[in-house]
Symmetry: C2
Subunit: 393 residues, 2 copies
């Protein structure tokens, strides 16, 4: 036999993904899962007749397309972003094959082996994995009630000379935190002062149940380069794989070329369907339905948590997003509890898994999704989980 | 103002793409283009009613899916590959967002800065760009009438210690060459001897107009690791962005994780449409229609070439694919001719552009697509091109 083939150095950093394993286990028949972040099918827009009969089935849109994305979609994305407070031209938008691809492109843009990058601690696991795959040294900034501590941010920039910062300011994953208006402004000022590029990832921003400030930090920047990542996987249908980014003019041309080298362009029927929805009469009703369905689920979960975890944990009711973030009063490491939970038929995400390698994880944290389980399973699953915490706490 | 943001070292290798610029220029109104490789809309399968009304519109397939791809599609891909002579299990197949993504994944798998990689000279430009983006030193193997010279291949392996070899054995892009059966076997034996991983890229294999051997070299390997890249962009619709790879078991798990980190998974409606087509009653008729349409266009181009370039160039009639490869008798560099041609309203690809940086390009070569221009424009465009060659030769 031959020796094993010689692979790139980055493959040594391609660790088995805890998320993948948990999600695979969570799909076992009968499992009650609080682990994933799947949108709920009954909350999502139905495929309207006016959509299914539309021009996205035209042969025109089955040919090769532009790497930038469909001109029709790009101009509507610029309008969609303007509604959220971010003024960009259509030429600054790039359609992605899901916003995860934007993280891959940002990692390719900024990261060499050893490159310091700032992120929140805790943060989105698949972003950590993508940055670390390219060799990033991810430095975590603890979350505060307001967002991130800007004095600490400045200190970390001076100390580590990072190339960029990755944040999820609105209904943050996994914590559910939302940066305050003042903190958004303060963060923008620090980034402008140092000229540090911002990667702002906003997959959950439409899932708002209580009014909070959601001003994109990118829109507050005056000088620092920026990339804003947007998704339709939580508002329309994730299976279409249509996301987007907008970027400052100094970064955009590189991102476009990286997109072209990566997969030429995003599937066109999906792009046209999103473009149609953005200007459809149904759009605002669809969003209202989405918010009310999830708000109801969130409130049901909050009640169920009070009945099961009220004496065991503290949490904030998240103003948006898909997750509760629990802090157990007895701050045990929840990772060893996962195996027991899966054996008993209930899945959750240990909060400790969401911290970059250089951060000390906050123990006794759990991320619990509220969109997937039905009312009955929600109560049953939480009771089982609370029992496990009590036994092992 | 701040200094420019510090980007990764790979961005210095992200050159402006000649292809992108030519293709952009080729889309100008009134331009006669022999430059691109767009499939012809009148050759492609029509969207049958039985397809447009099918299960791919089910809400089930609008949710997040598996990174591996749809189980239904993967099992049918294994069957499709078996028909071509490559025996794989469904578990060895990975659905891609177009086969270009497979090149990105292969580059991530093998390439560190300075990694030697073997390829054909000339070869597919976007593959060169993807490997070079990650820092590959691409070493070109000249094409022979049979394929590649296996003694030279062995010598290059011993000299350069490459990590993998990338080839397009069937209706090669840009040359239209097809490796002989004996050469395929001989290449497989050399790769097995050295255990050198093979990346075999076969986007054109269904576009066969004259019978030739098309045995996948991957199917002849006994020990060497391999990745086989397949596309539906030339047989079904490129706008759907559904391609695939199959890989040996030692490489597959890494490729799957790289796919997950890159874009989570490929769009599901497109996957289901391809899966439906693979077992539809229309499939073989669609392929026969595709081949006869393109064969007719190829023959028309051959005739038009005889009338315009007969005294200026030599070429082989390609047995498949989408391109003629001309060797001018007066071997001038055709790159400076491109600007003149574009100004006069005709686009082509200078053959010299398809060589890796370390190879000396063969001068006087031109790649001419025969699927895009209609009969009248084909004659007119070739006459203009021949005129330019005569003036500047």
């Amino acid at each position: 036999m031959h020796p094993a083939p010689q692979l790139s150095e980055r493959i040594t950093r391609l660790r088995s993904s805890l998320v993948r394993e948990i999600l695979a286990a969570a799909q076992a028949p009968g499992m009650i899962s609080f682990a994933g972040g799947l949108p709920s099918a009954d909350a999502m827009p139905i495929l309207h007749d006016s959509d299914t009969s539309h021009d996205w089935q035209s042969p025109v849109f089955q040919q090769y397309g532009q790497s930038e994305g469909e001109p029709l979609l790009r101009s509507r994305l610029a309008g969609w972003l303007a509604e959220s407070g971010l003024t960009v031209s259509a030429e600054q938008t790039l359609v992605l094959s899901g916003s995860q691809q934007g993280i891959d492109l940002a990692a390719k843009l900024f990261v060499d082996p050893g490159t310091p990058m700032l992120c929140e601690a805790p943060t989105y696991l698949a972003a950590l994995q993508a940055f670390q795959l390219f060799g990033a040294h991810c430095i975590g900034l603890p979350l505060t009630d307001e967002g991130i501590d800007t004095a600490h941010l400045a200190e970390m920039i001076e100390t580590h000379k990072p190339r960029a910062i990755y944040v999820i300011p609105t209904f943050q994953n996994p914590s559910g935190h939302c940066y305050s208006a003042a903190n958004r402004q303060a963060v923008a000022e620090v980034l402008d002062h140092y000229g540090l590029p911002l990667i702002e990832d906003e997959p959950y921003r439409e899932l708002m149940y209580d009014a909070v400030d959601r001003t994109p930090i990118c829109s507050l920047l005056k000088r620092a380069p920026w990339i804003y990542l947007g998704s339709f996987s939580k508002t329309l249908w994730p299976g279409w794989r249509v996301g987007f980014l907008a970027a400052s003019n100094d970064l955009f041309p590189h991102l476009l070329r990286l997109k072209q080298a990566g997969d030429l362009h995003t599937n066109r029927p999906g792009q046209i369907r999103v473009a149609n929805w953005l200007v459809s009469n149904n759009r605002n009703n669809d969003l209202a339905h989405l918010r009310s369905t999830y708000k109801h689920k969130r409130d049901a979960m909050n009640d169920a948590l009070k009945n099961t975890f009220g004496h065991l944990a503290d949490w904030e009711t998240p103003a948006g997003g898909l997750f509760f973030w629990l802090q157990l009063r007895n701050a045990i490491d929840t990772r060893p509890l996962l195996k027991i939970a899966l054996e008993r038929g209930v899945a959750f995400m240990p909060g400790e898994a969401f911290y970059p390698a250089s951060s000390t994880p906050k123990l006794g944290t759990m991320r619990l999704n509220f969109s997937h389980a039905n009312a009955e399973n929600m109560k049953k699953g939480l009771k089982m989980l609370a029992g496990i915490v009590e036994e092992h706490g």
